[in-house]
Symmetry: C2
Subunit: 364 residues, 2 copies
């Protein structure tokens, strides 16, 4: 057992704790003192459900008179309104009322779907995140972004809706496929360049330990990532300014994901490559030096993530990327906004001349 | 022209004005000083669109570089997620970004759909209510309840999401079918018993003028209704307490609508009968006197609304109603909560013994 840590997201009457430890999933006290409820509904998928579903159900037993489970197919391609509708069908058929609490048991996709379902069911019921992937523990389960994809764009439909608690059981990381661990590390690495140069150094020194799943290293990485995300989200819940820095690498990543077809690359893989492109653009525009570009590229590579940009269009690859990035929901009036690294630990959000973006896109 | 009145909904950073006057729809200044936007999207239906769509489009011209229009089929049966999806398709195909402003041009159904679409598009874009029915002007366009129906229940899927402005053009009431005018009057009448005994007297004295569409009478009824709703919503945006009184008559009404099939009765018609049942229950439980029951029943009748309860089940009508009411989303753990009139102008929310409810349901 590691010592249990609690990080608090400070959002006035919507504040909530992120509890980080091993052994949480089986412990009824992890789920004590939630809003009093007539029923719990666990939403999970066909991969995570068989591993942890029954254990969570047992842990919820003491507090909830009834526990229903909805098991969705696994994969980003199921992050659609149809999955939301499937959850509603179960809830309405079981006469779940406004006091029902939803539990998202799984990775980022399950968390985003469950959070959005909670936001919309009878105009809002409470929900708890129980993230079982590194990516979800350090990023997607924290901060209240929920939603589903649309054939014409990722995360286009959704809501800002905060969970009432996040329960990160570090033991669940043991069953994570290596590819998904690496994908999670991209979001850990992200926090260094944008917010904390000291953490960046720590990641660089502990990257091998993280890749080989040292429990101590993972415990610290999850905790520090959540602390940094809490600081940012606490200042800007609805992304009117500061919060946008959390999208470092994501403008390129969303274009990669859309261009390759959702699911071809994992989100974290696309972010790995996206961070490399973003730091190259930062250098080209006169911010960080070449040495920092090399340093971050090596970290992304050591984490087991792609650093190159996939070719989407043989004839005009840069043009295709620009087209996709202009359609991103962060774009405003067709202007693409990039998160750039001004210096290690400090990010800014800027537009960039097409020529500079083309040079980065063409030269990878 | 009537003098223009503005009622403000006070909700801190989500406060917004309700502008009430004739001649607003054609006047670009009605839509000035909205959030700066790259595009406007008018959502309307096949009945209202041909009457007012082009006029609104012209009035928006000076402020919005592009105006798109989505015309939905008319009717409560189209208040579904499919209509939301149709709006998203148009918006995404036209590359509408986060700064797009939606305009709900129509009655309560159009307003509920459009508000929910605005709440979910890219996790929230601004929207303006332009209600063209009496019911929408006095009730549904104000207060931020948005959503769609589910085959298993009305308004089961939705969000609390406030508009940035409500523009009530009183001239649009001239084209309203008489049946819909009557349906709107039920929500006007509602405010008297629950919140304002003086307004109740005024309605009683002016009911014939309202039914015959006296512009002066309608102008005052809309304004006073909005003022009363603003007072209630300003104190309890998310219906954790006080706001529930606005559902006077609605517990019975929702059961009527669900039992008859959505669209058979207009919502306002069901509320008319529902208020009569609720005031009968109030009397049976020892609150208001018999004279008040007669008084309210006569007002509902004079407005042109049904006062009797439709028979849903020849064998056990009361049982069928109880079953439907237990499934209402206001019910908590199977307990039905009724809005009862304690004395004219003052409502309370209470459970009631099944026997008393059965007596009311059986005796109509």
């Amino acid at each position: 057992m590691h010592p249990s840590h609690t990080v608090t997201i400070e959002l006035a009457d919507r504040s909530y704790p992120i509890v980080i430890s091993s052994g949480l999933l089986d412990d009824p006290s992890s789920f004590a003192h939630l809003p009093s409820a007539s029923a719990a509904v666990i939403v999970t998928n066909t991969t995570v459900g068989p591993l942890y579903g029954q254990r969570l159900e047992r842990a919820l037993g003491p507090q909830f008179p009834v526990v229903h489970t909805v098991t969705l197919p696994d994969g980003e391609q199921y992050k659609t309104w149809d999955s939301i509708a499937a959850i509603f069908d179960v809830m309405l058929r079981n006469a779940c009322d406004r006091s029902t609490v939803l539990f998202a048991l799984g990775g980022g996709v399950v968390g985003d779907i469950t959070g959005f379902a909670a936001a919309c069911y009878m105009r809002g019921v409470p929900f708890v995140q129980v993230p079982t992937t590194l990516l979800a523990q350090v990023d997607s389960s924290v901060g209240g972004k929920t939603g589903v994809n649309h054939p014409l764009g990722k995360n286009m439909i959704g809501a800002f809706y905060q969970p009432v608690r996040v329960v990160c059981d570090l033991d669940t990381l043991a069953t994570l496929p290596q590819r998904e661990l690496a994908a999670g590390l991209s979001e850990v690495i992200k926090y260094g360049p944008i917010a904390d140069a000291v953490f960046l150094d720590w990641i660089e020194q502990n990257l091998d330990a993280l890749v080989s799943r040292s429990p101590q290293a993972l415990a610290y990485a999850v905790r520090r990532s959540c602390e940094l995300k809490a600081q940012v989200v606490g200042q800007d819940e609805r992304e009117s300014g500061l919060r946008a820095i959390l999208n470092f690498g994501h403008t390129f990543a969303h274009a990669i994901e859309a261009g390759m077809g959702y699911g071809a690359w994992l989100h974290g893989e696309a972010v790995g490559s996206g961070m490399v492109q973003a730091v190259r653009l930062s250098h080209r525009l006169g911010y960080v030096d070449e040495r920092f570009v090399t340093r971050l590229t090596e970290m992304v590579q050591r984490a087991g993530l792609p650093t190159a940009l996939p070719v989407l269009d043989e004839a005009d690859n840069a043009g295709r990327y620009l087209e996709l990035m202009r359609r991103d929901k962060k774009a405003a009036g067709g202007a693409i906004r990039f998160v750039l690294i001004e210096r290690p630990g400090c990010a800014v959000v800027r537009q960039a001349p097409d020529a500079a973006v083309r040079a980065v896109l063409g030269g990878s």
